[in-house]
Subunit: 209 residues, 2 copies
């Protein structure tokens, strides 16, 4: 063993968007064990609003080269179908959908060869609930986008999505909307992010139900 003479390699650098949320905090705990995690969110010192492409561009200008981009952020409007309008669907299309797509599009250039992008979708793509038509729409769009983008990314870049069930940690607020769903510990969803970042697959949707 030549351990003494080997310089310990730098940890892979991961940009984590949405680092201060329930999911983001769990992803941070999981990834920090083996990565240098650069945390960004609307409330972090490193600020980003994914609904604003200019804000994403400013973020990438600050962070330098990365090995992975991970997103645990994305907002949609929840409301009864009867009350949904074009404008209310636009909230989710602009934020959770195109915010994450822009993270992927604009992040490609700062990723090292073989780097990865991991986006967040959710169970409502497959299993709808009342008030969730916008979330379903956006999650379905992200799943198909990831499958499609994966076959056209250059330089061995990879892209996957994590689609979790509702989090046990979120049930105090969400339980009335997710009756009967088997809520998962958010740490299980965080594991799927490490599977995407540290594995070798691309175009996958990791369902954590």
């Amino acid at each position: 063993m030549a351990a003494k003479r080997q310089r310990k390699p730098d940890k892979p650098r991961v940009l984590l968007v949405g680092a201060s949320g329930t999911l983001g905090s769990a992803v941070r705990v999981e990834l920090e064990q083996r990565h240098e995690v650069i945390a960004a969110s609307r409330s972090s010192k490193l600020k980003v609003d994914i609904a604003d492409a200019a804000s994403i561009r400013r973020l990438f200008a600050q962070v330098g080269k990365l090995d992975a981009i991970v997103c645990a952020a994305g907002h949609v409007h929840f409301g009864a179908l009867a009350a949904m309008t074009e404008e209310l669907y636009a909230v989710g299309l602009r934020d959770k959908l195109m915010g994450q797509v822009n993270l992927a599009l604009l992040g490609r250039d700062v990723l090292n060869d073989g780097g990865s992008i991991t986006l967040i979708t959710g169970i409502l793509a497959e299993h709808p609930i009342r008030f969730g038509s916008s979330a379903s729409m956006v999650n379905g769009a992200l799943e198909s986008f990831v499958r499609a983008a994966a076959i056209e990314l250059p330089r061995g870049l990879r892209i996957n999505a994590v689609s979790p069930n509702v989090f046990a940690e979120s049930m105090p607020g969400y339980a009335p909307y997710f009756r009967g769903f088997e809520a998962i510990p958010v740490a299980r969803a965080a594991l799927a992010f490490s599977r995407s970042v540290e594995g070798a697959q691309t175009g996958q949707v990791y369902r954590v139900y």
Copy 2:
């Protein structure tokens, strides 16, 4: 048999949007056998541009009560992922996605009880091709939207989507992008529309691969 004394019931009234396209023409042939088909498109006498909600509102103000709304229209931008931008994705989000979602939202009030809405998605939601990331995104969004909207529609209204493979009739132009795909006769896709309109299911995606 009291046939002599029975007044023949009126045929169900179906609004067909995109009636002049390859698919729309085939859907018209299929449905006209048993329905009164009201044909609308960008080039029909009854004009509609689904990317414009005001145009959809004008259409519904003209057609009166309906038993079904069927859409065979929807545009997305095809282009290499490397050249795709937020603006180019917005084309498909505005036209094929929100155009059809607006047909459903704005059409609810003109549908008779138990009426149906049938939207068009496509195989790229599941099986991507080069240059197709926007089509995949939009088709995936529509599939999940249909599943979600189905559980919240009132008065027995139903909503389904048809997801066809590439059409044999379109292969002269599309073949280079769909090598190896088993192109289907457009009449097979038209059958799936009649299954949605004349069946009783809701929240379904009829795959015609």
